[in-house]
């Protein structure tokens, strides 16, 4: 009996000892798992199945935010459409923007595609730049470092463990990157079009040229006029690949593919869950 009691006590203390980390998207979540190891319990709020701009603010997410010790968000305006009201009614002072348990990853990222002027008449333009940086595999390094720094700040007694986890993960990631770089060499200067400017960081990293988007303006559904222009563009520039994300409608892409002979490649924008 005593043994059981002891074990449950140990177990509960162990559960309580873990740091509850909520991340808005899955890549951040995966990196947090690697850096935090067994010391953290990671919850991903926005599924990689859905458009990151339009995560449904389900009340069940409130109970997740209510208990979090650390909230890691993407930033750059990507969560503007769903996170603020949740954060406001989760009644958790630990993860407010002014608190120690809040990490806006965008502060550690060099943004590209910064608009010179911002107006809603240009569609869903983000003032800070393109927020879809998680498609660049090198960004994972910055993410891991920032998360290690934050975890060590929240839980200084385990600083060494986070440091070890980080070193180990970065080594693994370096090996992965090397392999990926060799693979990607063949893609140099390839021409593609995409649905939304979702893969710009990835394309820039591997010198792949993007010649246009299926949506006429960010966040605006495709129009027939724009699609026809795009078909001409594809034919003229001899573009072979259409990068399609997992969450937008796929009809327009397959229509364009049919008209031009280009191939549709469905590419995830976050780590698949």
């Amino acid at each position: 009996m005593k043994k059981i009691l002891l074990i449950t006590m140990l177990l509960t203390s162990y559960i309580f000892a873990t740091i509850k980390v909520d991340t808005t998207y899955s890549t951040l979540g995966e990196v947090a798992k690697r850096v935090g190891g067994e010391l953290v319990n990671v919850t991903i709020l926005g599924s990689s199945k859905y458009d990151p701009h339009f995560i449904v603010p389900k009340p069940s997410l409130l109970s997740k935010l209510r208990r979090a010790d650390l909230l890691i968000m993407n930033g750059g305006g990507l969560e503007l459409g769903w996170l603020p009201p949740l954060l406001k009614s989760a009644n958790n002072p630990k993860i407010q923007p002014s608190s120690i348990g809040f990490l806006d990853m965008s502060h550690y990222i060099n943004f590209i595609d910064k608009p010179t002027s911002v107006s809603r008449s240009f569609g869903d333009v983000h003032a800070q730049g393109n927020p879809h940086y998680s498609t660049d595999p090198y960004v994972v390094i910055s993410m891991a470092k920032a998360i290690e720094k934050k975890l060590s700040q929240i839980d200084p007694s385990n600083k060494k463990i986070y440091q070890t986890n980080l070193d180990k993960f970065l080594k693994e990631w370096d090996i992965y990157l090397e392999k990926l770089n060799t693979k990607m060499k063949t893609c140099n200067n390839k021409k593609v079009i995409q649905y939304h400017e979702l893969f710009n960081y990835f394309l820039k990293r591997y010198d792949i040229q993007s010649y246009g988007n299926i949506e006429p303006l960010p966040g605006i559904s495709p129009s027939s006029k724009h699609t026809i222009e795009l078909i001409d563009n594809i034919k003229e520039n001899n573009i072979k690949i259409i990068l399609q994300d997992v969450y937008h409608e796929k009809k327009t892409a397959s229509f364009i593919a049919q008209k031009t002979g280009a191939k549709v490649a469905i590419i995830p924008h976050e780590k698949k869950q």
Binding site: S60, W82, N91, P93, S221, Y247
Partner: protein, 398 residues
Amino acid sequence: MKKIIGLSCILISSVFANQQLDDMKEIIKQQQLRLELLEKKIEINEESKFAKNQDASSSFSQKAYLPDIAFIANMSALARDVENEKYSNYAIDGFINKAGEIPFNKKRGFNLNYGEMEISSSVDPYFDIDAALHIEKEGLHIGELYITTRALPYGLRLKSGKFKSEFGRINSKHQHSWDFSAIPLLFEAYFGAGGLGDEGLQLQYTPPIDTFVQLGFEAMQGGNGRSFGDTDKNNLNIVYLKSSFDLNDEISLLYGGTWMSGKNRDGDTDIYGGDLTIKYIIDSYSSLSWQSELLYRDKDIENETLKQAGLYSEVVFDIDQNWATGVRYDTLFKNIDNQPDDLNRYTAMLQYKPFEFSKIRLQYTYDKSKSFAGKREDIQEIMLGFTIESGAHGAHSF
């Protein structure tokens, strides 16, 4: 022989050394040139700084602290088979003797319903402020103005000011985020076309458990004349409980209960009821939701207690990013003696959103709940409404 070798060795090495020295000299020379160039550049930069007039326009700039300001506008074109003059005097038998203010879609023809300024900002690490100011033709009207705490411990949050009660589902939402352009009949009958908003204090508690549960307590003045109206002191107390769970990734359930107790000019008013919402998320842009609310009311007048009840139930299908459609059934199914208990209304809508921040809605209403000078009359209405949300507009909740 040895000597010769030795000498030639020295010679060769010295020649090579000379060569190296020359190389070094050349490098140093080049670097010196570069240094000079850089120094010049720095000098020019420094000079230009002084040459230019200092731009002092941002020395005391507080732009970064400006609150988020959004401007919302709503307008409509309307066809109704009742004349305007007659319509403005409608009654709902047993509930409303005479229509009060009709804030939205009042007239046949064109309606500029309102402009609304929504202002929200963090005050400091401890408080947020939110305001919704209605700009109407008659003047400015404070829809909401409240302060919310952001750093209370134990899952508590305090709200104070004038605000829409957060009980149930629809009451705390603003007209621009409703799925149908009129408030449910039940709410119109109990609280008026704007719902229940009042001056008061709210304490909300969210326990730290896996299932979402939220408990709210509101103390209000009781200024809503339809159900309460005795404002001699703060006379209205509201308690609500909300809970939600996900059946799976796609299906969410949200349900809650409400109890409110207040005073009208003749006696007590108690209202109690519940709500249920089921949302099926098909993909990022498409979902199907079914939402219903039911409220009973016991209202004392003179020597009797009026026992009344009603509900609404609506199904809204968000087809894609642009299109949505929905139907709503409204009924006041329980009424006082000698008054009708089949006060129903049917509404259907089709909505097109060119972009997130603008929305065009076509709505048809068949209303069997109104009477004119003691005679019940069915009303049909077709409305084409237009809503825009511009500026720094916050996201809508679930």
